[in-house]
Structures are given as structure tokens and as C-alpha cells.
């Protein structure tokens, strides 16, 4: 069992700055947990506390059944991959991989066996006798991953491992690391992974679950699909998804029949009864209305009138298969993702003109303006 639990973990630096504010988090055995957030959100600090590279100011961290607060990094059963590879420059790849095992006083034959096994898995066997400075970025990062695997740790820690690679290499390494995790898990080896990144694509594609952090607080922990569909607050809604969710101010109006409406300046949009029920807002309350760009479409003749907004086309961005259409609605900006075929048919010369768009209210979110919480879940 190698589940990881954080209980009320805090980190206060000597200068009094509180970086982590009593976070609680459970990472299940074998799970791939991605911690994501903007820079300075303390995701790396959290990982480093788990690794034992930073002292914990309060709370408890458990790996399996052991509280590791006061254990040295080497006694925690972890292995870590760093952003800048952190390979030992004076050792060959083989020595780099075997260094941890050598310190653990394993027999030479066993070290060789483990090193060769890991090298094969990561396809770095031909590189074994090279020095780190003779490796490309991608190769060096594979060696760094290999160094982690060789130790057969109970928990793998990754600290922005792909940030130094170019976009293409990053995509292939992403797949490789995911596959590796699946393979370890399938062969019943310990595979619990904590992966820190600021890149939401990595988070969405790799994680079993994602922990979104901001300013030392956990904003939401859930599966990638749920984070996208049901963001708990404005921050998560804005952070996950590209282009980001549209968020505009609106006045919430309750009707007597149980349905409700949203007023954008002088325009009204209806919300059906079922959706209205889930919204916890007062009559006439100013709320933040959130809708993802893919749920805004050009209105057709069949579109019910009460779900139409009229806006001015400000800008068109061609993405190839689709266009990002930027609209100005009641002095607020909205972005819609519209397939190229439709844009070419209706919107090519539409810049500066008014168009009617249909909002798929079923998929919208309503956030409280003060608390920024999602009040429509």
C-alpha cells in the first residue's frame, strides 16, 4: 500500500510567509495525481514537502501507514524527477541510474540487472556509457525517469519534468510517462505518482485525478472530466480549458413558475426549470455566468428566441478546423468556438456586424460573485 495523505499540512517560511495553508489531500494507491496551478501556487512546495526536501511547519504527511514528517528523503521510499533533470554530470548514464542502488549497497549483479531493465524500458540502452552532457534534452529526461524507476520506489514524484523540452518532445514524453505508469500498475508494482505541472494539457491528459491549487490552497480535486464539466469555482473554471470559459456578469431573475432568467444589460436569456432548481442564488442577485466557448453557437431559425443573445463580432481567429469568434455582448466579451464550415458560410465578413448566438444553457455555470463558488452544481 502506498497511498499518500496530507493532513492539515502547512508551510511557513522563516520570514513569516505562509506558502501552504493547511491542505488535506488523499492520493490513492497506484493513482496518478497531477497537481496543477499557476506559478507561486505552492504546488512544488507541496511536492518538496512530500519528498522531504522542505520541512513541514504543521500537520502530517503519511506514505502508506508511516508518518514521514521527520524522515530523511532517502527513508521515504520515494523517487523524484526534476525539471532540469539533475543528472550527476561526472557520472555516465549507467552510473547515474545505479547510484541510488550502490548507496543502498546492493550487489553489483543486481544493480546491473535493474539498470539494464530500466534502460530497456525507456529505450536508453545505447546511451548507457555516455555522460549527461552528451545527451539531448529528451534523452536526459528519460535517464532521469530511469533513475527513478530503478529504485522501485513506492511513490514517484515529478516536478515539472517536461518544462524544459520542446513542444513535440513534450507530447511524446507525456505519452511515455503515462504508458509507464499504466504498465507499472498493470504489473502490480507500486505506481503511485504525484506529478506537478503548470501545463493544463499535461494535467488533463495524464492525471487519474487533478488537484488544482492556488495561493497555497487546494481549489478542487477531481478527475479531469469532472474538473472540466463541473468546476467548483471561478478559478478552476478559468484555469482548466483553452480557450478559457467565458465569464460575464449577469442579473439572476427568478420567475414564479420555477424557471428563471439571466439579464445581460438589456437582453434576457431563459433557464429551464430543471437547471433553475440547481442554482442557489437570490432573485435579482448579480452572478457570474460561465459558459465554455464550444457551447455558444450561431443561432438558427429553430433556435428558441429566449436562448438567443445578440452580439457584435469583434474578431475572428482561424484555428484550422474551427474559428474562435470573439463577440461583444452588452459591453462584455464572449468567445465562441464555431466550426470552419459554418463560419465560412455565414460569418466571413461579419466583423463589426451584429449576429445572433445560441447559448446552450444546459452546460452553463453560475458562480457567486463574492465567494466565486459554483452555485449551479
Amino acid at each position: 500500500m502506498a497511498n499518500v495523505t496530507f493532513e492539515k499540512v502547512t508551510k511557513v517560511y522563516p520570514n513569516g510567509f505562509e506558502a501552504v495553508h493547511g491542505i488535506d489531500l488523499e492520493i490513492r494507491d497506484g493513482e496518478f495525481m497531477v497537481m496543477v496551478g499557476p506559478s507561486g501556487c505552492a504546488k512544488s512546495t507541496t511536492l518538496r514537502m512530500l519528498a522531504g526536501l522542505e520541512m513541514i511547519s504543521g500537520g502530517k504527511i503519511n506514505i502508506g501507514d508511516t508518518t514521514v514528517n521527520n524522515l530523511a528523503p532517502k527513508d521515504r521510499g520515494i523517487a523524484m524527477v526534476f525539471q532540469n533533470y539533475a543528472l550527476y554530470p561526472h557520472m555516465t548514464v549507467r552510473e547515474n541510474l545505479g547510484f541510488g542502488l550502490k548507496l543502498a549497497r546492493l550487489e553489483k549483479e543486481l544493480i546491473d540487472e535493474y539498470v539494464n531493465e530500466a534502460a530497456e524500458l525507456l529505450e536508453i540502452t545505447p546511451l548507457l556509457d555516455r555522460l549527461p552532457r552528451q545527451l539531448s534534452g529528451g534523452q536526459a529526461q528519460r535517464v532521469a525517469v530511469g533513475r527513478a524507476i530503478v529504485k522501485k520506489p513506492s511513490v514517484f514524484l515529478f516536478d515539472e519534468p517536461l518544462s524544459n523540452l520542446d513542444a513535440k518532445l513534450r507530447a511524446s514524453m507525456r505519452v511515455r510517462i503515462s504508458d509507464l505508469h499504466k504498465r507499472l500498475k498493470a504489473s502490480n508494482q507500486p505506481a503511485t505518482t504525484v506529478y506537478v505541472t503548470h501545463d493544463q494539457t499535461e494535467a488533463m491528459t495524464m492525471g487519474d485525478r487533478i488537484c488544482v491549487m492556488k495561493d497555497g490552497y487546494i481549489m478542487q480535486v477531481d478527475t479531469p472530466a469532472n474538473l472540466y464539466k463541473f468546476p467548483a469555482n471561478l478559478f478552476v473554471a478559468g484555469f482548466i480549458g483553452a480557450p478559457e470559459m467565458n465569464m460575464v456578469e449577469a442579473r439572476f431573475i427568478k420567475s414564479e413558475d420555477g424557471a428563471s432568467q439571466l439579464r445581460f444589460s438589456d437582453q434576457l436569456v431563459s433557464i429551464n426549470e430543471r437547471k433553475s432548481k440547481s442554482i442557489r442564488a437570490e432573485h435579482e442577485e448579480i452572478v457570474i455566468f460561465g459558459i465554455r466557448p464550444e457551447f455558444i453557437n450561431l443561432a438558427t431559425e429553430e433556435t428558441p428566441k429566449e436562448q438567443i443573445l445578440t452580439g457584435t463580432v469583434v474578431r475572428l481567429e482561424n484555428m484550422g478546423s474551427e474559428f474562435y469568434v470573439y463577440l461583444d455582448v452588452a459591453d462584455q466579451s464572449l468567445c465562441a468556438r464555431i466550426p470552419t464550415a459554418i463560419v465560412e458560410e455565414h460569418l466571413l465578413d461579419a466583423e463589426g456586424k451584429d449576429v445572433d448566438v445560441f447559448l446552450d444553457i444546459e452546460h452553463c455555470h453560475i458562480f457567486n460573485k463574492e465567494t466565486e463558488e459554483n452555485i449551479s452544481l
Binding site: P73, K74, F82, A86, Y88, P89, K151
Partner: protein, 303 residues
């Protein structure tokens, strides 16, 4: 018509460009002549004394101060042969050995102690670290001669006079602030990720120092060793104060010994031995040259 015009224009501009290129090349050539002239002149100025010393050691004594020429009129090995014998019962070889008797322990102790102390300063949190670091810098600024009398009294009490111990024992305690400072600056320029990776791999502090820090610090450590070697071989004041018996004299004192004699000094012998005396430093420098230069610049730039 238009095509013709175009080609005329391009031919004209090609000529202009050619002219411009030629002018730039000429300017650069003149510049480089001037540069080399100044450099060579300065080089001659700086190397002349050294060349004079070596050439003088091949001249008979009477010729040394009478001619400016670097080429001896009466070439002779006498300076070397007689100089090696020295005016004492020992040959110059003995003084060479004596020098190494304290220089080698001095270099080894300096390297070990400075590395450990620099590692401590650069990587560990210790109470009042700033104060200790300031103290370290202060010792660099302190003139060595200020310490001579108290140190002499201390070593006298410890019964270590007329031995090499006072010359190298202090080095075991990282007393050469400059070297510690140089290594600290080098270490500060290194990212700590590697050390953290090593800690996760299972290193304790000493293993970290031995397996990771020392190999990475190698250029800086070699620079420290080289500096210490050269300065120690050239050190005159230290041995002068602590060494009293001639049989323990190092090169620096032995050279002075030859000048001390009451009759006119045999300058060709002294200069011949001086020429030999600089050989170890030059040899050691040439062997470690690449590392030395890398170390000096790395320590300086990264700090």
C-alpha cells in the same frame, strides 16, 4: 530597358559593396597590427626580467652587470654546478625536498578543510551564519603580518618552533579565507537539484560531499591547490620566522642564505638556483592549466 537599368544599378551597388568590404578589411588589419604591437611590447617588458634571470645564470659573474644582452658571451654551466652545491654542507636538492616537506601537507590540508567549510557555508543553515561569513571575509582583509607575533608566541608555547608544523598546521582549520570564499562562490553558482536528487538517492551529507560536490567542484579545488602550491613555494616570511636550522631550510631561505655570505655574492649561482626554483611551479601550472583557468573563471563568473 527596365532589365538593363536594373543590372546597371546592381553592378554599381556591387562595386560599392566591394569597396566598403575592402575598406573594412583594411581597417581591421591596421587595428590588429596596432594591437599586436602594443601586446608584444608589454609582453617583452613583463618577460624581460625572467629572461634576464635565466640568461644571467649562464653568464660568468663578472659579465652579469656589465652587459644588457640576453645572450651570454662566455656561456658556462658554472652557476648551476656551483649553485647546486651551495655554500653549506647540503646540496640544493635538500632544500628542494625541505620545501615539499611542508608545501605538500599544506596543499592537502587546505583543500580538505576549505572544501568542507565552504560546503557548510553554502549549503547548511547554521546559527549566526551571516556573522560567521563576515568574520571569514574579515580574515581575508586582515594583513597576515598582524598575526605573526601572536602566532609565533602560540607555536613557541606548543614547542613547535624549528619544525614545519607551524607552516601547515593552521591550514587544517580552513584559515585561508580566500580559498573558502572562492569555493563558496563556486558552490553558490551550482543548482541544488543535483544534491537534492542525491539526497533522495540515499546520500548523507558526507556522501553528498564526496560523491557529488567534490567531483563537480574539481576545477575550483584544483585552482585552490595550485594557488596554495605556488604561494607556498614562494613563501619567504613563514619559513624565515619558524625555521632556524639550515638543514630544514626551504628554497626561499636557501637562496637568501647565498646572498648573506660576507664576500661578494655569486650572482650567477643565485640566479641559476632561482631559475631552478621556479620550475616546480611552472610544471605544476602547465599540468593543471586547463582546470586552473576553468576554475578561476568559473568561480569568478558564477559567483
Amino acid at each position: 530597358m527596365a532589365g538593363e537599368n536594373m543590372s546597371t544599378v546592381s553592378a554599381y551597388s556591387a562595386m560599392q559593396i566591394n569597396k566598403e568590404v575592402k575598406r573594412t578589411l583594411r581597417k581591421e588589419r591596421i587595428n590588429s597590427y596596432f594591437r599586436y604591437f602594443v601586446l608584444i611590447l608589454t609582453g617583452i617588458f613583463m618577460l624581460y626580467p625572467l629572461a634576464w634571470m635565466i640568461s644571467a645564470s649562464f653568464k660568468p659573474n663578472h659579465e652579469i652587470f656589465t652587459s644588457m644582452s640576453l645572450i651570454p658571451k662566455d656561456f658556462s654551466w658554472d652557476g648551476f654546478i656551483n649553485g647546486w652545491k651551495t655554500g653549506t654542507e647540503y646540496t640544493f636538492g635538500r632544500f628542494f625536498l625541505n620545501t615539499f616537506m611542508y608545501v605538500i601537507p599544506k596543499v592537502i590540508l587546505t583543500v580538505i578543510s576549505s572544501t568542507i567549510v565552504a560546503f557548510g557555508f553554502a549549503r547548511f543553515e547554521i546559527p549566526f551564519k551571516k556573522f560567521w561569513f563576515t568574520t571569514l571575509i574579515a580574515t581575508i582583509l586582515l594583513p597576515q603580518s598582524v598575526l605573526l607575533i601572536p602566532q609565533y608566541l602560540m607555536f613557541r608555547e606548543m614547542g613547535m618552533l624549528d619544525s614545519y608544523m607551524p607552516l601547515y598546521l593552521p591550514m587544517a582549520f580552513a584559515t585561508q579565507g580566500f580559498f573558502v570564499f572562492m569555493l563558496i562562490q563556486f558552490l553558490r553558482g551550482l543548482p541544488t537539484d543535483m544534491e537534492e536528487a542525491a539526497m533522495i538517492d540515499g546520500c548523507n551529507s558526507f556522501q553528498l560531499l564526496w560523491y557529488i560536490i567534490v567531483p563537480i567542484l574539481k576545477p575550483a579545488i584544483i585552482s585552490v591547490a595550485l594557488f596554495q602550491f605556488m604561494w607556498s613555494v614562494n613563501d619567504f616570511l613563514g619559513p624565515l620566522i619558524y625555521i632556524s636550522s639550515v638543514e630544514k631550510y626551504p628554497i626561499a631561505l636557501a637562496l637568501k642564505l647565498s646572498i648573506d655570505v660576507t664576500e661578494a655574492a655569486n650572482w650567477n649561482e643565485i640566479l641559476a638556483m632561482a631559475s631552478i626554483a621556479i620550475v616546480p611551479s611552472i610544471v605544476v601550472f602547465l599540468i593543471a592549466q586547463n582546470y586552473f583557468i576553468e576554475g578561476v573563471t568559473a568561480g569568478g563568473v558564477k559567483g
